[in-house]
């Protein structure tokens, strides 16, 4: 019933497709409000019939809680709509922050992909040339002629590939987190939170769930929208990557499959292509771009997650759950 | 007769001393002086203006209470008047006592407590922690180099090869662990050093005057008391705790002698495996001793300082913000 959500991607222009959220939200809201008032009425009725002062007092308190839940339910979607749709409009112009964030992260992946493949292509030939060795047992010789000047390039490309590896993993994790917050924020956490707010025993957990829902659904994407505004477009990165890929082009590897017939072209590639300024400049530019990306996909999101958790920690007591100690402990953990 | 004569001289002495509590117009300010400029008009001027306005207000209310025959207002005014008097007395005693306390503790510590605290912390950070960190780093690099040294008997295809000192890599990991620890220690010491200079800049020049002014207004009395207590605690007690730390550390340095490494090691076992191991372990042992001296000064003593300062602030706030109703 409640739990089989429909998971979507952010197609519509407005951040919160109010209509979509409401038809998921509306049945839950009704159930929550009705049961809350039912319990209060029942308790009050018992309190009056057996003139139990304590019970009546409790019922009165619970009535206000139920009223609070009702108001929360009624205005939540309205609040979401105004805050998100209009709010974002004013803040970042008429674009859906989620769409912007999705686009930004996909853009980063679009750039990382050609970088990795071109670095691999350049490194493949450089490392092959580095491994060429001449041996002569008579003279006790085992000498690799090209290793001296190809190994720095190979190490450099390996380091760059490692950064791309880590960046790719983190970007895809952010992408999955963003998808979780977009879908789970309104359609899972907030309905469950409101449902739990009804019963006094689970009010704490309910308050926390609503806080998590609002925090993750609003705070996290806005961060990416600002980050996205500051980023260059990925096509420039792709040009640099292809430039690196072609910097060692024109070397026929198959000749070396069987015999070292064309040793001359191998030394030519080693001396001119591997050391060519084109390879050095494009790989240096790519490394500069990567360190910039590293900041945007690792430190900013970590910062924003901390901001989101402090946001949750501040408003959750408001909604009924006090998680100051636990939250802080877990924030350190994260 | 003699007693009254002595009393008056001492009284004059105190008032004279009180004058030098207010800082001179231009820096360098002597230790323990309350800032004369507070925004533009100087806090003494502002607190007197505040007092006059409140007295005016009270008189107006008193007049109204007489017109509308509101008895409870009268009691309230009487109480407020009394409170203002208490505030004035408190401020005057504060001004006088402050310079006395400062002089006592400065003589006790031998110099301006802030100066001693800064020197103590800087010597800890730059002399002890950072050169220990560089030693650790050098040892770690050396161990890793030695660990990579490989002996090969016969050609690779038909012989045996091994790294005799591969165990040194683990010792290098121990050095890296200590290096990470020293980074944490120096960070905590630097934070305290910066905190001290912030306190020196703001506690008496900003926080104390604000506290005094708040103390005068009826509604901010408790907040004023707390602010004064806070500034006293931070400016006087906190640096003195560092002076205490320095004295404690100096007193125990001579008393502790740790046994040398050989007394409990089986040297023959280690030398057999790799000749460089004993050298690395002696280096590790000396750095562990230095670290053991640093840890209390970077973790235990700062916590003790905070506990003492907080206790003082809590007690002083309670004393300063009570309205002495019972004495009345």
């Amino acid at each position: 019933m409640m739990l089989s959500m429909w998971w979507t991607e952010p197609w519509s222009m407005t951040p919160v497709s109010v209509q979509g959220v409401w038809n998921v939200w509306q049945p839950v809201a009704l159930v929550a409000v009705v049961t809350a008032f039912l319990i209060v009425a029942l308790a009050y009725m018992i309190g009056v019939s057996f003139n139990l002062a304590g019970l009546r007092k409790w019922a009165k308190v619970e009535f206000y809680q139920a009223l609070a839940s009702a108001i929360l339910v009624a205005f939540l979607v309205l609040m979401m709509d105004t805050m998100l749709n209009e709010g974002f409009q004013t803040m970042i112009g008429s674009i859906n922050p989620y769409k912007k964030a999705y686009a930004y992260l996909d853009g980063v992946m679009d750039s990382l992909y050609p970088i990795y493949t071109s670095v691999y292509k350049a490194n493949f030939i450089a490392e092959f040339i580095k491994s060429i060795g001449i041996y002569s047992n008579g003279m006790g010789l085992d000498y690799a002629p090209f290793e001296l000047f190809t190994s720095p390039i190979v190490e450099y490309l390996h380091f760059e590939a490692h950064i791309v590896t880590v960046a790719a993993i983190i970007t895809s994790t952010q992408r999955a987190l963003l998808h979780l917050f977009y879908n789970a924020g309104f359609t899972v956490f907030i309905p469950a939170g409101v449902l739990l707010r009804i019963f006094p025993w689970t009010r704490g957990a309910g308050g926390l769930l609503i806080a998590i829902g609002m925090g993750l659904a609003i705070v996290y994407p806005t961060m990416f929208t600002f980050v996205a505004m500051m980023s260059e477009n990925s096509s420039e990165v792709k040009n640099k990557a292809t430039e690196l890929g072609n910097s060692i082009g024109g070397f026929d590897m198959t000749k070396f499959g069987a015999c070292a017939c064309d040793f001359q072209s191998a030394s030519d590639v080693a001396t001119t292509k591997v050391l060519s300024p084109q390879l050095r400049n494009s790989s240096a530019w790519l490394l500069g771009w990567l360190s910039g990306i590293w900041l945007k996909i690792f430190y900013y999101p970590m910062l924003v997650l901390l901001v989101t958790f402090t946001f949750i920690r501040t408003i959750s007591p408001l909604l009924g759950a006090d998680i100051t100690e636990i939250g802080q402990g877990l924030v350190h953990l994260l | 007769m003699r007693i009254s004569y002595v009393l008056t001289t001492i009284f004059l002495l105190c008032t004279v001393r009180a004058a030098d509590i207010v800082c001179p117009a231009t820096p360098p300010y002597p230790p323990c002086c309350v800032s004369s400029e507070f925004w533009s008009g100087g806090w003494i001027y502002i607190s007197s203006v505040a007092m006059i306005t409140i007295i005016l207000l009270l008189s107006v209310v008193y007049m109204l209470s007489k017109i509308f025959v509101k008895h409870e207002w009268e009691i309230w005014i009487k109480d407020e008047a009394y409170q203002i008097l208490i505030s004035i007395v408190l401020i005057i005693t504060l001004v006088i006592v402050l310079s006395a306390i400062c002089n006592v503790f400065t003589t006790l510590a031998g110099n301006d407590p802030f100066l001693i605290a800064h020197n103590y912390l800087n010597s800890l950070i730059w002399d002890k922690t950072l050169n220990m960190a560089t030693n650790t780093f050098q040892y770690s690099v050396l161990c890793q180099l030695l660990a990579a040294f490989r002996t090969q008997i016969g050609p690779v295809a038909l012989g045996v090869g091994f790294n005799q000192n591969a165990g040194l890599r683990a010792v290098a990991v121990c050095f890296d662990f200590i290096y990470a620890l020293t980074a944490g220690i120096s960070a905590s010491l630097m934070v305290q050093d910066i905190g001290l200079s912030i306190i020196q800049a703001f506690a008496f020049r900003i926080m104390l005057p604000i506290g005094i002014i708040f103390r005068i207004f009826p509604f901010f009395r408790k907040a004023g008391g707390f602010l004064i207590a806070l500034s006293l605690g931070l400016y006087i007690v906190y640096p003195l705790c560092f002076v205490m730390n320095k004295m404690v550390v100096d007193s125990i340095v001579s008393g502790i002698s740790l046994p040398a490494l050989e007394t409990y090691a089986e040297p023959f076992l280690l030398a057999v495996i790799s000749p460089f191991m004993p050298i690395a372990l002696i280096g590790l042992y000396t750095i562990m001793n230095q670290l053991a001296f640093l840890l209390p000064q970077a973790l235990f003593l700062p916590t003790l300082n905070l506990v003492i300062t907080l206790t003082f602030i809590k007690n002083a706030a309670r004393v300063l913000s009570q309205n002495f109703a019972e004495a009345y």
Binding site: - | L7, C14, V156, A157, G161, D250, L291, T311, K314, A316
Partner: protein, 358 residues
């Protein structure tokens, strides 16, 4: 007139305090630990003489003022003032009484010989050069020295264990890097047969880090123990003096609680807790070394796990609990003691919000 008179009296009090403040000539307080060679250290004695004067002075001034206030209150029939004065008088007498007992208390603590309490403990020779059993000039077995001796024993055991684990680890990692080539005529294999030992060596490396941390923490506690003696010498007198004045009674009480807690209760806890843990760690270390000798370091022996790694893991586990977990428990009880004592003596030393700070 009444208030003016009170203000004047306050002035008198301050003046007296200033003039009475006799500090030794060069102005700085030379601090020396409370106990040395089994009895009260001479440094503490001389320092306490000068502080004793001040404490008495402070107590007597408060006493005089409260008498004055008492007569005034009696004259003006102001019950609250009388009560306040009576209370101040009690406090002044109490602080003066405490001052009297300080030297007696410290000398008792310094000269208390734990062996009389039925504990077989290892003490310290009065002459620091000698090692305990062979003491010529006599032994001192008070709490601090016994605690220091026990921590030293534990430190030696842990360092011994650390060096043994380092030896095993370096042998295993050396063996794991051996490569053995057998390709006569260019055809064959080059293998490193003992690669698995490298993985065991990495797990022993974590054990080394744990043992090193335990050794460092034990050393730190030895230094803390020495520090508490000097801390007591500074905090206790200041606490007494501040306690006699009405305004700073809470703060003074807190300082006294901290001083007593650190100087008295902390060494007691060290002796009790470490007296017990040390025995089991020592037994475990000797069993480890004997099993190593028996097992020998050749991997061929079938019982390599039972003979070699089982005792090593046991030793690391015990050292970890003994040197890291139990001190946390000890400090927990120490903070409870200081908190309890300070609520009784004056201002409650609130260390709880600090723990949240760190």
């Amino acid at each position: 007139m009444n208030i003016l008179r009170k203000a004047l009296l306050c002035m008198v009090l301050l003046a007296l305090l200033l003039s009475g403040c006799v500090v030794n000539s060069d102005g700085t307080m030379a601090v020396s630990p409370a106990c040395s060679s089994g009895t009260v250290s001479s440094g503490f004695q001389t320092m306490w003489e000068s502080w004793q004067g001040i404490a008495f002075l402070a107590g007597s001034t408060v006493f005089i003022i409260s008498i004055l206030a008492y007569t005034l209150g009696y004259a003006l029939m102001h019950r609250k003032v009388i009560m306040w004065a009576k209370e101040q008088m009690q406090e002044a007498c109490l602080s003066m009484v405490i001052v009297l007992f300080v030297i007696g208390l410290v000398s008792f603590l310094c000269s208390l010989d734990l062996r009389t309490l039925g504990m077989e403990v290892s003490c310290i020779c009065t002459d620091p050069a000698e090692v305990y059993p062979a003491c010529t000039t006599g032994t001192s077995c008070n709490f601090v020295n016994v605690g220091y001796g026990m921590l030293m024993e534990m430190y030696k055991n842990i360092m011994g264990g650390f060096l043994t684990v380092t030896a095993i680890q370096s042998l295993l990692s050396a063996l794991s890097t051996t490569t053995y080539g057998y390709a006569p005529g260019g055809v064959g294999f080059v293998v490193s047969p003992l690669g698995a030992l490298g993985d065991i060596a990495t797990s022993l490396r974590d054990g080394m880090i744990v043992l090193m941390t335990s050794a460092i923490l034990t050393l730190t506690q030895m230094i803390l123990l020495k520090m508490t003696e000097s801390l007591f010498v500074i905090l206790f007198p200041i606490g007494i003096i501040l306690r006699s004045f009405g305004a700073s009674r809470g703060f003074g009480g807190g300082l006294i609680a901290i001083a007593l807690g650190l100087f008295l209760f902390y060494p007691l806890m060290v002796v009790l807790f470490y007296g017990s843990v040390l025995g089991s760690i020592q037994a475990d270390y000797s069993s480890m070394t004997t099993s190593l000798q028996g097992q020998g370091l050749d991997a061929s022996n079938s019982n390599w796990f039972g003979g070699l790694l089982w005792p090593v893991a046991g030793f690391i586990g015990k050292a970890m609990v003994g040197a890291i977990f139990i001190p946390i428990l000890m400090f927990m009880v120490l903070i409870a003691f200081i908190k309890g004592l300070s609520t009784a003596l004056g201002e409650e030393v609130d260390a709880s919000n600090l723990t949240r700070l760190i």
